[in-house]
Amino acid sequence: MKQTLGYLCIILLVFTIVVKGQEQEADTSATAMLEKLTEVKGQVEGMNETVLEMKSTLDALKKIKISGYIQSQFVNVNSDATVGGFSGGNFDKNYHNRFQVRRGRVKFLYDNDLTQYVIQLDAIPTGVTIKDAYITSREPWLRMFALTAGVFDRPFGFEIAYSSSSRETPERSRIFQTLFPGERDLGAKVEFSSLEGPLSFLNFKGGWFTGNGIANETDNAKDFIGRIGVSLPFTEENLAIDAGLSAYSGSVLRETGKKSYTLSSVTKAGADSTTKYIDRTYFGADLQVYYDVPVIGGFSLRGEFISGKQPGDASASTYHKVNTSSPTDIYLRNFVGYYVNYVQNLGLSNQFVLKYDVYDPNSDVSGDDINQNVAAKLGAADIKYTTLGVGLVHHWDANVKFTLYYESVKNETTKYVASLKEDIKDNVLTLRMQYKF
C-alpha cells in the first residue's frame, strides 16, 4: 500500500513538473511572440515613417519638371548663293547643303502651384544661350490673374507661343522671324485666363518690354505688347475656333546726328532729324480652326495677318538696334504680312502640312519701284517674299518625330537691282528628326 502511495506521489510529482514545465514553456513562447510582435510593429512603424519621409521628399521633387527636345536636320538649298536665312540660318556661298542641330533645348520648371520658376537653355554646337528665364506668380483668390517677369515669349499673335517642338513646319513664318527675332523679350506681363467657368473662353496677356529681344535696354521708352483672345470649343461637333487681336505699341531711339527716313515714296524718302523716338507699331489678327474629320483625322487651319510700321535699317527690315559706337539711320516702312497654314492628321502617326506665307516689308512700293530713284532709298530690304511650303510629319512614337518639308520661295523682282532681276534660287528642303521628352 505504502509502495503504491509512493508510486502515486512520484507520478503526481512528475505530472506536476511536466505541466508546470509546459505552462512555463507556453508562457515563454507567448512572451517571445509578444516581443516579436512588438518588434515587428516597431519595424512597421519605422517603415511607415520612412515612407512618409520619402513621400514628402518625393512631393518636393515632383515640383521640379525637366523637359526638352533636340532637332537634328539635313537642309538643302537649290543654290550656292548666300541664302536660307529664314530656314535655320544663312548658307555660305561655298555650299548648299548641311547637317545641323537646329535646336537643343532643355527646360527646368519648378512648379509650386501658384508660383513658377522657369529657365530654358538652347545648347547647340555653336554655343549655349538662354531662351527663357522668368518667374510667374498667380493670385490665390480667383486664380485668374498672373504676373510674369523676366525673358519670355512676346505676347503677340499665335505663332510665337506655338512651341517649335510642336510646330509642323521647321521654322516660323518670315514675318514673325523678321518682326520678332528670337521670339523672346525682356519685360513683365499680366495674364488673365480662367480655366473653368463663364469666362473660360476669354484670355488676355499684355505687358511692357525693352523691345530689344534678350539684349539689354538701350533707351527709356518701353514697348507695350498684348493680345486678347477667345477660345470657343464646340465639343459636340468636335470643332474649336480660337481667335485673337494683338497690338505692339513701341518705338526705337533715333541716335543723335542720325536721321529717320520714311520709305513710302518711289521718288524721295522723307527725312526726319527731330523726332527722338520713331514709331514701332504693329497690329495683328489671328484665327485657328480645328475640326475632326471622321475616319481621316483632325485638321487645323490657322492664319495670321499683321500690318504696321517697322523702323528698320537700310539693308534689312528687322527693327533698328541702337549702336552707340557706330550709329546708323533709321528706315521706316509700312509693312504687311500674313500666312495660312493647313495641317491634316492622317491617322494617328502622320500629318500633311501646307503653308502659304507672305511678307512685304514695304507695302507702299513694289517691283520696279525699288531702286528706280536713289533718293527714295529703296533696296533689297523692300522686296516682298512669298513662300509655299509642303511637307509631311511622321510621329514615330510619343518622343520621336520626322519632318520632311519643302519650301518654294519667290521674291519680287526689279530691273534696277542686279541680284533681283529674277527669282533667287532659294528653295529649301529640310529633313528633320526630333526627340522630345
Binding site: L195, E196, T235, S349, N350, G391, A398
Partner: protein, 274 residues
C-alpha cells in the same frame, strides 16, 4: 530636288500608315478599372478576335496616355480639363470625344463602428480642408479624424477638390493612397478614419448619408437618389477617344452603351446613363 522630295514623302507616308490591329488599349481611372475589366472580359468572350487591354493609373495618367498616343480609349472619372484639350488640339487637331458611360455617387466612407452617420457638404469640405479635425466637432467621439484621400493624378481627387472643396486645397494631413481600394482598406481598419471614392468599392465600411446643407434631407448614394439628383455628390464616368471612334473601337463603345453594357455598370455597383 523636287523628285527627291516626292519620293521621300511617299516613302514616309507608306511607311507611316499602319493598319489597325485587333488590340484595343484602355487606360485611366482607377475608379473605373473594375468596370472596364468586366466590360472587356464580357466583350472579349463574345468577340474572340479582339483583345482589350485595361490598365488603371488614374484619370490624369489616362488622359496623358491619350495625348501621347499610347492608349486608344481613356477612362476618366472627371471631365477633361481645357489645358488637356489644348494638348490634344495641338497634336491631333481634335478636342477629343467624350462619352458618358455611367453615373457614380461619390461616397464618403467611414468605419462601420463610427457613430456619425451623416454629414453636410460643408462639413465634408471642412474635414478635407483641415478646418474640422476632431469627430466631436460633428457629433462623434473626442477623437482625431484621420483623413484618407487619393493622389493628384486621380480623377476622383480632382472632382472632389473642384466640386466638394470648391477648388480649395486638401489638408496637408491627408494621407494620399494609390487607389480607391486602398482608401476603403485603410478606412475599414481605422475606427476614426474617413475616405472618399466610388460607390462600387463600398465593402467592409459604412457609407455616410450626405445632405446639401443643415436643413436638407440626407441621402445615401443609391440608384434612385443618384438618378433623381437627390444625392448631392453625383458625377459621370467617361470614356475619351482622340477622334471620332471608328471600326472596332466604335463597335466596342456602342456595346458599352447598349443595354448589355449598361447592365455591367449596375452589376459592378455604378449607375447606368440610359
Amino acid at each position: 530636288m523636287k523628285n527627291l522630295f516626292l519620293a521621300v514623302l511617299f516613302g514616309l507616308a507608306a511607311f507611316g500608315f499602319r493598319g489597325p490591329g485587333d488590340v484595343i488599349t484602355v487606360k485611366g481611372s482607377d475608379t473605373m478599372v473594375i468596370l472596364a475589366q468586366r466590360w472587356a472580359e464580357l466583350y472579349m468572350g463574345k468577340n474572340s478576335g479582339i483583345t482589350i487591354q485595361v490598365t488603371g493609373g488614374g484619370s490624369g495618367i489616362g488622359i496623358s496616355a491619350l495625348i501621347n498616343g499610347t492608349t486608344e480609349i481613356c477612362n476618366s472619372s472627371r471631365p477633361m480639363k481645357n489645358s488637356e484639350r489644348d494638348k490634344l488640339k495641338q497634336r491631333f487637331n481634335s478636342l477629343g470625344v467624350e462619352i458618358k458611360v455611367a453615373k457614380d455617387g461619390l461616397s464618403i466612407y467611414v468605419s462601420e463602428s463610427n457613430t456619425v452617420k451623416e454629414l453636410t457638404l460643408a462639413q465634408i469640405k471642412d474635414i478635407y480642408t483641415g478646418k474640422i479635425t476632431n469627430w466631436k466637432q460633428i457629433g462623434g467621439p473626442d477623437k482625431k479624424i484621420i483623413v484618407y484621400g487619393r493622389e493628384n493624378s486621380s480623377g476622383t481627387y480632382v472632382y472632389f477638390r473642384d466640386f466638394v472643396l470648391q477648388g480649395e486645397d486638401f489638408t496637408s494631413t491627408m494621407q494620399s493612397l494609390p487607389g480607391t481600394a486602398a482608401v476603403v482598406n485603410a478606412v475599414s481598419k481605422d475606427k476614426f478614419g474617413v475616405g472618399f471614392g466610388g460607390a462600387a468599392y463600398a465593402k467592409g465600411i459604412h457609407i455616410m448619408r450626405v445632405k446639401k446643407d443643415a436643413s436638407s434631407q440626407a441621402f445615401e448614394p443609391t440608384a434612385e437618389t443618384i438618378k433623381s439628383g437627390s444625392y448631392p455628390i453625383t458625377r459621370y464616368l467617361y470614356l475619351y477617344t482622340r477622334t471620332r471612334p471608328t471600326g472596332q473601337i466604335k463597335e466596342y463603345i456602342d456595346w458599352i452603351l447598349s443595354p448589355e453594357g449598361q447592365q455591367v455598370v449596375q452589376k459592378v455597383g455604378y449607375f447606368p446613363v440610359k
